[in-house]
Symmetry: C2
Subunit: 316 residues, 2 copies
């Protein structure tokens, strides 16, 4: 076993479960870690003291490594980071912001830091900030996304060319074959969100999990490009935003339509019409809600099948 | 050698050069075919009699199979198809339209027909129309593109799951590693446009070829979504369209800004400000204009390197 990601995180498989807003509680993170991947608690949707509880429960539920995802634009970030440090979390994934401030602070406490980026340019900035690894996330990913719209297929080789750190691919990956494809392109492993949102242990509302399984090709779209771009399911709320955009609404108007707590309303409370339902394009390939351990097992089985099929490509 | 694409087209490597508007003359098609791929003449930018000349010259320049790409929305399509049949072309790639009418007519003349699609739904329609193979083209591809914005990484497994015909992946592929990734995802081969637009034999203006080599991540964008979506380089013309869209311009206004012959002005005549410069996201990875034979050779060398690296992934 010799992989830069498995070595860095001391895990069995180079599979990281994304720390998704409203969908990544301690139950999911510990299940993934117990199955040989790296589970991540999604702090973005948690009050600081709620995060503390999730960390403690995760520590009780697994003796394997796990991490916490922190979006750097989180309003009470000092409080959140203090809890992460106090509670002895060893791995932090940061996203949505500049890693220059927090990376050295976390590193000084012995924490392994990985930053999520959408371009080679941001990957280089993350390297300069001192991170230990980088996640490169393509256009097809769910939730907040880069403005350049670079897809995973184009992004991974571009980032791999520019940096030498361990590299995780994210966006569009839900099977062992796509995990293999990402590694062929230069990634050392993968960060998977959508597939784990449709897991038994995920904390999304049952309506949301059922919706992920139901939707087909073309049912998600990257929208709100005049504010912060986000990929969501095309529901009534999406249509309201889309119509406003088509008639030329400005950022201020869009933010008014967006209102507050839309993501909670949709993904956590189960309002499939008025809620913001963040999920990746690859949801079209997902047809079943499964336990996290079974997802990890499927991924590795498919990965080994893909590996055998590659050995049989016979093109001289 | 046992691959459904190489067998179908009687070629050495499962590499198809896309028949691109203004960029795919007989010189490029014959060079690709002579190097073991399948060269395609791009008829979309040719008057019918110009196409006849290109077909004849290609026949003189190579004894290997080659094809012609025909967008089904071409205004004088009857004339174009008659020339293709009269001149004994054996392989036709159709795109941008419904394949139901022309597929049986071409098949009856003994012509192998491949149709380009952007979704599994359209792939199934192409199968019903009787095509011999399908190209599934993702969001990252240059030129005209699907409305659902499905990326190659998500599209290929979705199409491979739904159809049993030989399948080519397109969009985001310019290296042997990405060719390998596409095949891991379920494709039998690849259709490559952008990499061949920056070839010595391509008929694009030198300004355009230099621009492809120059541009970086984020320098192309899928635009004109209220008319027919197209991926182009962000130049002055793109900015004019983009500003109009942001203020809510309707399709009629956008078509007026588009005007006529923008693609010719840009790609063929070399106007880098006012022309429409259609190219894929993967242009960011291309740094050199090369002869077509060298491109094929690079692809296969990289493919074999990727194959060896996969054999060494050691994840039990």
């Amino acid at each position: 076993m010799s992989n830069r990601i498995t070595s860095l995180f001391k895990i069995k498989y180079p599979i990281i479960q994304a720390g998704m807003i409203w969908n990544s509680p301690w139950e999911l993170a510990s299940a993934v870690s117990n199955a040989g991947g790296l589970g991540i608690i999604g702090a973005a949707s948690m009050y600081p003291e709620v995060l503390r509880t999730h960390i403690r429960r995760c520590q009780q539920a697994t003796d394997q490594p796990f991490g916490v995802n922190v979006p750097l634009l989180y309003p009470d970030i000092e409080q959140l980071m203090n809890i992460i440090i106090e509670e002895g979390v060893k791995i932090v994934f940061t996203s949505a912001g500049n890693p220059a401030k927090w990376t050295p602070i976390l590193k000084e406490k012995g924490i392994t830091v990985t930053h999520v980026v959408s371009s080679a340019k941001f990957a280089k900035k993350a390297v300069s900030a001192g991170v230990d690894a980088v996640v490169a996330e393509g256009f097809e990913a769910g939730g907040h996304n880069g403005r350049e719209e670079t897809t995973t297929l184009c992004l991974i080789p571009a980032v791999a060319k520019e940096i030498n750190l361990p590299l995780l691919a994210a966006g569009g990956i839900a099977t062992g074959a796509s995990m293999m494809a990402a590694m062929v392109l230069g990634a050392d492993g993968v960060q998977i969100g959508t597939r784990f949102a449709a897991s038994v242990e995920g904390s999304g509302h049952d309506n949301f999990k059922s919706k992920i399984v139901e939707i087909a090709e073309g049912d998600t779209k990257l929208t709100l490009k005049k504010t912060i771009p986000v990929r969501m399911i095309k529901n009534k709320f999406f249509n309201d935003i889309d119509e406003a955009e088509k008639r030329g609404a400005n950022a201020e108007e869009l933010i008014k339509i967006l209102g507050v707590a839309r993501a909670k309303k949709g993904m956590f409370e189960g309002d499939m019409d008025e809620g913001e339902l963040e999920i990746g394009q690859v949801s079209a390939l997902i047809t079943e809600i499964k336990p996290a351990a079974e997802i990890i097992n499927d991924l590795m089985t498919e990965f080994h099948i893909a590996q055998k099929s590659v050995a049989n490509f016979n093109l001289d």
